[in-house]
Amino acid sequence: MNTLIFRTIAPFLAALMLVFSVFVLLRGHNEPGGGFIGGLIAASAFAIQGLAQGVSAVRRALKMDPLGIAAIGLLLSALAGFLPFLGAMPFMTGLWIDLNLVADTVPVSSVMLFDIGVYLVVAGTVTAIALALEEKETD
């Protein structure tokens, strides 16, 4: 795709979509949203970038294989599941810590760790699929 408008707008749009995907991910605990839909939005941001600037540019920007990102996400999710074993609690029990920051206390949980893992798995896998499809098209 060699249109000037698309090539100019795509980086801004991709950045906006990535920010929105993180917003959806973090809001997903109490309201609609969550890791899966956030990961899908992030993957479509990478797909748009791939359509505009070419697949190799996206691969260089990601700095690692998308499936590697998915593997890290799977590791985080599994870690969140096994973390309660340290306190002799059942598998996937939600653990909560109140993190004292400068101005406010932020509740942090293993549930959120699990959701971030889901986000990375979905984003990595769908990005890998989209980039592979776009690469195939240009052959």
Partner: protein
């Protein structure tokens, strides 16, 4: 007339207008002589769906629909871009070998043109 009742009236008028445009766009999807017409009509359907969500969230007070509209507005045009790419790379259509915004190399036998 208070502002809230004016807003409700505007939303009530907007719903049938949106429905009418939805029907017209659907007709273009069915009828559209070329593939490009249909792709543009599908993009238009996304925009009308965003409008429906906005009006619905104003009428019912669910702010959740605004977020869905934002997500659809960000992602919706991805399908259009992918379709445009598909039309470009369809077999039977000759691709330009150089991007149009770059000056083409002069071939021998071709009249020299000013860039």
């Amino acid at each position: 007339m208070s502002s809230s009742s004016l807003l409700a009236l505007a939303a009530t008028i907007a719903l049938p207008v949106l429905a009418l445009s939805l029907a017209a766009t659907a007709w273009r999807v069915v009828r559209g002589p070329t593939l490009a017409d249909r792709v543009l009509a599908l993009d238009m359907l996304t925009a009308i769906a965003i409008g429906f969500m906005a009006v619905f969230s104003i009428l019912t007070g669910y702010s959740l629909y605004i977020d869905i509209a934002i997500a659809l507005g960000l992602v919706g045009f991805l399908a259009t871009v992918a379709f445009a790419r598909f039309i470009l790379t369809r077999p039977g259509r000759k691709l330009p070998d150089t991007p149009p915004d770059r000056p083409r190399p002069n071939r021998p036998g071709q009249r020299r043109r000013r860039a």
